[in-house]
Assembly symmetry: C2
Amino acid sequence: MPEMIVGKSATKYDAFAKVIGEAQYIQDLTQPRMLWGKILRSSLPHARILNIDTSKAEKLLGVKAVLTAKDLPGRRIGFGNDNEVLKRNKVRCVGDEIAAVAAVDEATAIEAMSLIKVEFEPLTAVFDPELAMAENCNVLVHESRGSNLSLEYHFETDEAALAASLDQAAVVLEDRFTLPFVTSSAMATHGCMALYRNGELTIWTPTQVPFLYQHELMMATGIPGNRIRVIQPTIGGGFGAKLDMYPYEAACVHLSMVTGLPVKIVFTREEEFQASRPRQPMIIDLVTAADRDGHLLARKAKVICDNGAYNSWGSTTPFVGMQTISSLYRVPNVRYDAQIVYTNNPYSGAMRGYGNPQHTFAVESHMDMLAAKLGMDPLTVRLINANQSGDVTPQKMKITSCAFSETLREAGKELGSLPSEPGKLRGKGIAGLLHVGGGARVYRSDGCGAVVKLDDMGRAVLLTGATDMGQGSDTILTQIVAEVLGLEIKDVKVINNDTNLTPWDVGSHASRTTFIAGNAAKIAAEKVRSQLITAAAQILNANPDQLLLRNKRIMVEDAPERFVDIGKIVRSLHFKQDGKLLVGEAFYDPPTEMQDNQFLGNVSAAYAFGAHGVEVEVDRATGVVKVLKVAAAHDVGKAINPLAIQGQIEGGCAMGLGYALSEEMKLREGRVINANFLDYRLLTAVDIPEIEGIIVESDEQEGPFGAKGIGEACCIPTGAAVANAVYAATGVRIKELPITPAKVLEGLNKMRSTFDT
Amino acid sequence: MPEMIVGKSATKYDAFAKVIGEAQYIQDLTQPRMLWGKILRSSLPHARILNIDTSKAEKLLGVKAVLTAKDLPGRRIGFGNDNEVLKRNKVRCVGDEIAAVAAVDEATAIEAMSLIKVEFEPLTAVFDPELAMAENCNVLVHESRGSNLSLEYHFETDEAALAASLDQAAVVLEDRFTLPFVTSSAMATHGCMALYRNGELTIWTPTQVPFLYQHELMMATGIPGNRIRVIQPTIGGGFGAKLDMYPYEAACVHLSMVTGLPVKIVFTREEEFQASRPRQPMIIDLVTAADRDGHLLARKAKVICDNGAYNSWGSTTPFVGMQTISSLYRVPNVRYDAQIVYTNNPYSGAMRGYGNPQHTFAVESHMDMLAAKLGMDPLTVRLINANQSGDVTPQKMKITSCAFSETLREAGKELGSLPSEPGKLRGKGIAGLLHVGGGARVYRSDGCGAVVKLDDMGRAVLLTGATDMGQGSDTILTQIVAEVLGLEIKDVKVINNDTNLTPWDVGSHASRTTFIAGNAAKIAAEKVRSQLITAAAQILNANPDQLLLRNKRIMVEDAPERFVDIGKIVRSLHFKQDGKLLVGEAFYDPPTEMQDNQFLGNVSAAYAFGAHGVEVEVDRATGVVKVLKVAAAHDVGKAINPLAIQGQIEGGCAMGLGYALSEEMKLREGRVINANFLDYRLLTAVDIPEIEGIIVESDEQEGPFGAKGIGEACCIPTGAAVANAVYAATGVRIKELPITPAKVLEGLNKMRSTFDT
């Protein structure tokens, strides 16, 4: 039976509310007698705090509370608990939280901050992770740890086999790839509103992971978890930056606790640049070895990751990058080493792709360089190594559905047809990707709960733990429930913004929501459906297997004139003695495993594949790279909402192009010097080329209606594809993003001088 | 096993929020760009509308919409569909809705109303239901009906047996009892806020019956029910007056539909008096027959009820009053006839007791008069006729738990011990009651749905359809869930204010919430509990039957040192591969039946009994009745929250005493002339005597933990008890409420003149 709603483009569930301005972001929320909170942040990257004098600030009319570390219980937060809510003895990066102020209005809070006097003893700082790891480095970001190494990740297949394969290889490439700080630039800055009253905390915050957040806030404040209610306002973009609980949020709770009033803190755009979590810069030394025919024999990567001053969830991104090194294309011998290094830079975190854009840039640049070295076509060398359904990768990841080859073929197909104009050089490049597409068991549970209620008016309500931070998952979930129950999309409502109401979910990350929450919603709806069908079979005197749910009716499949209205069935079950309601409940936890301490295990129930093809035109004189077109082919399993996938692809490509060409958070002594949208060169509408989304369906058996995750995938390979296209156009190989005109010109000039000599 | 939480007094769930002013009533709600709506009401009780000129109002700056009947689809609303949202051709009572205005602020809306010109042709009106039913009455409130009789109710047992019993009776009393208009005087006036947008309606309204309301609003506006979401703000008292959907609510929806903006209408206190639903005045002609020993032989009642201009739910109150006539005390032969009569008075509705305070006043006055006639003690004549467990009444109501006799004994026990002072006359009186206490199947379903979620933080959330309008049901429900799951009350949250979220419930009426919603919550919680116990039995290696849930632990009953934390069990079930959440769902619909067209059937799963004893002191010179004490004994089955029952009793008695002594909505030509709290003599704190609540438990097998309903019961017999006490003190029998000093004086004077002659 063909689906009626799943597979057809649907307008976003929240589009209308957002377009007319009805959606309420944290910026819009208020409470009676609400105070404004502000955080006094360090202006120095590394300094001892000798004294903090808050007396003048406290005396300012309208100031209700001034808190410093001494007023707090001294709990540490963050991944690895290396971060204080307010810093007691020293600051480790520009932006570090020193004091928190609550006042009757924002202006008073700002004035109060200016009245706080902090006496610092500046310390030597380290901003380069390689210097931070050098033996002679005498700067320790965290003295007690004795080193600036925060975390290490190591994976390898058989050591001897790896060495042998390198010896036997026809080609061994060894290159360093360098990736910059970029930030997700969500349109809505961070902010939260806390109300602690009568022993209960309510916090409104745009977290992506409300249930993990509830737990983190319990650890950060000491308030029992069952006294914490997390309510999510409309989230104006997350992209991973809203995965961690931030120090300011715990500070905001303490401000409410001491004042007894609601307190709201909202980031300025400058704070958003300096104090939200950017994507981590990485230095990747990659070795790729292949035989004469282009078959990959081995890969070795040594990665240094600039962690900044503290850990965050993002300190675990090598977990994902490692999968790209070990499992993007078939490669039998692998070694991976990553070091997460403390510096006095802003601390990095999760951002769409979670380490994968960096690693894929290295791997896919090398695939092109390998093709060049062997004189092969870049597509061919990829196709002969492409993962296939049924593969088990060196990390024991089990590839189920896989249309990688098809996406590679599709992505490059229509590019490169036009000739170059004088003074311009054209070229096309492609790059592939692998990413988790069926959840990622990085927590003990990767599940999501759902409750579906179908009422006697014919309205279905889905209570789900899943968070929509703009990616469109609410729309997908309404489609799934409507499809299962034979309703219109408009008949389905989603409730998912309040931990008191909704069943647990690990949160929106790892492109898991369509897959995991989709399955949960589907199973819950099917429980309702089976009750409907049993009742309808009796009414219609038909075999339950012959019944179809369509257009709010249940009908006999090959005799559609025999039907009964769904609302009527609900009412017939409900409005009688000993009646019943139609409620279905489900918890879907995918059939996956946590990786062991060797990083072995099938972490996701499905994997997403895809490829981007890019055509560029490079100006010989200026080095300016203009992207003419992106053809982005993605294996999504099944497109539940093609329009939403197109949106994800366009957004992902725009983010990937910015990463490739222009975005970089520039630091001087740990301070972001382009902390505004004029200087931080986010691409704008005029910079975006035609983006062709190509949806490839592979029917993932474990996915809801065959679907897999797509959210992160579509920003991952763009950087490499652009670099490969620039190489194809110019012969210049750029190994460091962004690909600025200066770098291209330098490359062109070098080539000229090579010819000259 | 004794209960730990059920049976112990608990602070009201919403007390803190209400005390600090956090609770949001309809008066507090707002929305961006919200308009203020006002209703232009008729100043005449009966008139033809010749013309409405809204042109000036429409031109007023700030006015966004002016609607009259011609702008509306012309749907009729109310019980029997006899009411228009805005009146087209004629008005039938003062307060009838003629036009609706929406403006940017309240002052502008008021000014706009003053600019609307309505041309009336006044019609003769009828204000007396007996005149309205007279053959020569030439006023028809609803011409098309051909008569002013709206509804009739008739019940009788065997006609011949009834006639014979009257013939054989030793005593036959025949009296007329007259009951006035009173109104519930909820502290929060009516109001609603409507937002129709993108084909979906959200309405915030303090309805007691959100799901019936959703249906009524669908019928009233034509918006499909599955596009209507009803959200209940904190309800500042319902008492039955918030059972009906009002015309202004549908008008408010239309204002939002035409303006595209949120619109709020809130009643003034004057509107609350004139245009909310008061308790219906009744004229009850009662015949009571008994044998020489005081055994009741027969009862006959003929009731005329002033319906006012339109029907409402309250037009069905004889349904309840009939039960009092047929089933309060054992009486074998019964006849009941009631007429619901249209007049041009304000139209009456549901109010606490739903016809029962009126009927009980008549029956219990007669019981006293019977005792006097036979020279028996008023308690004795009641005890020999009192209902007993196992009885089936003439209407086939099955009496299960019944401690009626005990409440009768308890209520009078300690009264009447003090001697009268000079010039004062003291006396005590008692009166009993019967009311539904286990729901009332007046709708096809009398059920309530519940979903209980127990999360890994140890917080339980109950989603219930049940409405707390101030009666304290949320507290009861938290106690029940906490008791079943071994949690603290504070660990349980109740969500019940949004039809999108909550499972269906017929609504808060008929004192059904503790019983029905309590059972639903209990069953849902027990489903969670059984999963906990299964897991705990494995962990503790114990027999499931030996396990106790207490203080957030599950322990072995006779070895409490063997225990496991409940939170730990939840986490152990959840945080693993193939984990599960703890969610339980239930729909409880009591084992009752709708009465047939002969009014036979067991409409409630349990019946509440009780008795009030009152001691009064009457001033011989002024006729002023001072109540010295009320002893109110109630058979509640089981007191889940004794403090809440005490609160219900105090509130009920205060309402009952007001009904007895001072409250009366005074009408002149259909206009309420005491439409304010200065003139409408609600009793105040200084008027309220000591009220002793006496809780009698009878362990109702079908009730949650043995409980039965109590909400309405405690205001029902007070009026009769006061009248009986006044008689005991003075010998004056007052058959018309309220018992004003003038009536008492008149009685005293009559007695003196009787002595004089």
